[in-house]
């Protein structure tokens, strides 16, 4: 009990001080320029009561889920394949290395040109943001499977199908999990960016829309919500990772 208290007391204290300082500082500026925490809370309540907030949260989460799942479904099989077949990886690697540093945001003009305004460009940008971390960690995880695991498999006469599905995939899984984890973070960051640019709904759109009406309090409310939801998703991911890690004997 006292340990929990100690562990939560320090961050809670720091947070309180931060909010107090913010409130104090905001006192010196007009709320359109720098809203106080109390303004932001009021804006949150207003958005929540009008239902705008939850509609946009729902849309954002749905976009995020679809794009993330698509990215994972594309990146894991491709990563497993490229990790297994070193020659193919060698052939494709330069292409990956050139495409990867291009910010998903830079794809935005093309995405709109190709998919029009709406869900698709935002989903496309989130997908790109999640794709590379999963792909690269999957490749690395497959290549890091200890050679002795494959020796054992070969020794017992396991076929290539069994070796792949029941040795390489589970052996690579903890490594792939790390990629899934990183991808959640990058994808969530790009969700807001994607929605700010092209979408007519979602948390990113809500922020832009509030900016257009100079509702800085609502802008900050949107930002705060993005942060809190991101934290919740990250924590949930961590729990899943932990339970899988325990099962795999790595945690």
């Amino acid at each position: 009990m006292s340990r929990i208290l100690k562990r939560s007391l320090l961050p809670a204290g720091a947070l309180t001080i931060f909010v107090a300082l913010w409130q104090f500082a905001a006192h010196y500026y007009p709320p359109e320029q720098f809203p106080a925490p109390s303004n932001v809370l009021a804006a949150l309540r207003e958005l929540s009561e009008s239902g705008v907030l939850w509609a946009n949260v729902g849309i954002s989460l749905a976009r995020f889920a679809v794009a993330y799942l698509l990215a994972v479904l594309l990146a894991i099989p491709l990563g497993l394949f490229l990790g297994r077949f070193i020659r193919c990886h060698r052939a494709i690697d330069p292409l990956i290395q050139v495409l990867r540093p291009i910010s998903p945001i830079a794809w935005f003009p093309l995405a709109v040109l190709w998919f029009g305004i709406g869900n698709a460009p935002a989903v496309f940008i989130i997908l790109l943001a999640a794709f590379y971390p999963v792909l690269l960690t999957t490749i690395a995880a497959v290549r890091a499977v200890p050679a002795v695991y494959l020796k054992v498999s070969a020794n017992f006469g396991a076929g290539s199908r069994m070796t792949f599905l029941r040795v390489i995939v589970p052996a690579a899984f903890p490594g792939i999990m790390v990629g899934l984890h990183i991808a959640v973070g990058t994808a969530w960051i790009h969700l807001v960016a994607g929605e700010m640019l092209g979408a007519q709904s979602g948390l990113g759109f809500m922020i832009v829309d509030a900016r257009n009406f100079l509702r800085t309090d609502q802008v900050m409310a949107g930002m705060l919500l993005v942060g809190l939801l991101g934290l919740a998703i990250y924590k949930g991911m961590k729990l899943v990772e932990k339970s899988i890690g325990r099962r795999w004997g790595v945690a």
Binding site: P146, N155, F156, G249
Partner: protein, 266 residues
């Protein structure tokens, strides 16, 4: 080789060369000839660089010899075979599988029906005294227990040959002695042919019907010592001490030569 026993493993002029990073060719094994009888327990000992691990890898089919042949049971070895199972120093268990799951792996690879596989796996685990740990994961086990699982995994597929590559080297002295006795008991019960690589001379004298002493630069067989003592061997016995002394004497000779050779190359 003891008389009257069938030849199980035949090494005929086995040679293996490696090219080092600097492009120098090194002879890991230089024309090794060896005959091992069915059901025999042979230990390979020698200082590092003598090629004992290379030799066991070639015998198990993980590496191909540069020239010469390895024949097991009359068939040339060209690849790993479920009838000749290798046991590794680091156990090589699958961490995501339970103890039972690990032992089942070889049977699943063979396509043994599930309930039959379970019976065989349980019997193998009983043999190594791990019936109480079926549902544990490898990370919950001590090193000695992990190696028992790996032995059970091998025994479950009833191989005729066990290759053991320094299987007890990472264990503490007590566990090592205990597992040596266990291994002997299992060997006497199941009578597989055992090829056991170790760098521990005492272990070699305690276990092997024959001890093959290898020498480095180039890797080769220096001497084969027949340990004519019944199992289980009393380590404090004067006869045991005599064999031990003989092996140590020979080993020192090998070691001195190796050290001198190393000095010349510097």
């Amino acid at each position: 080789m003891s008389t009257g026993r069938r030849t199980k493993i035949l090494l005929d002029g086995v040679e293996k060369r490696f090219t080092s990073a600097r492009g120098e060719e090194q002879i890991a094994l230089d024309t090794v000839n060896l005959e091992i009888a069915a059901g025999e327990f042979v230990c390979l000992v020698g200082p590092s660089g003598c090629g004992k691990t290379t030799l066991i890898n070639v015998m198990a089919g993980f590496e191909r010899p540069g020239s010469g042949t390895v024949t097991i049971g009359g068939r040339e070895v060209t690849a790993p075979d479920p009838d000749h199972i290798m046991i590794f120093q680091d156990y090589a268990l699958y961490p995501w599988r339970t103890v039972l799951g690990n032992v089942l792996f070889g049977l699943q690879a063979r396509g043994v029906p599930a309930y039959e596989a379970r019976g065989k796996a349980l019997a193998a685990l009983e043999l190594v005294g791990l019936s109480a740990a079926l549902d544990k994961h490898p990370h919950e086990l001590s090193g000695g227990m992990k190696q028992r699982v790996s032995i059970a995994r091998a025994l479950a597929v009833e191989p005729s040959v066990l290759f053991m590559d320094e299987p007890f080297a990472a264990l503490d002295a007590f566990t090592r002695l205990h597992l040596q006795d266990e291994l002997l008991r299992i060997w006497q019960e199941k009578r597989p042919t055992v090829v056991f690589v170790t760098h521990d001379l005492d272990e070699a004298v305690a276990l092997g019907e024959r001890v093959v002493l290898m020498a480095p630069h180039p890797g080769r067989i220096q001497r084969i010592l027949e340990v004519k003592l019944p199992h289980p061997r009393e380590r404090t016995d004067p006869d045991f001490a005599a064999f031990r002394k003989e092996l140590f004497k020979e080993f020192h000779l090998v070691h001195k030569e190796a050290a001198e050779a190393a000095e010349y190359t510097i």
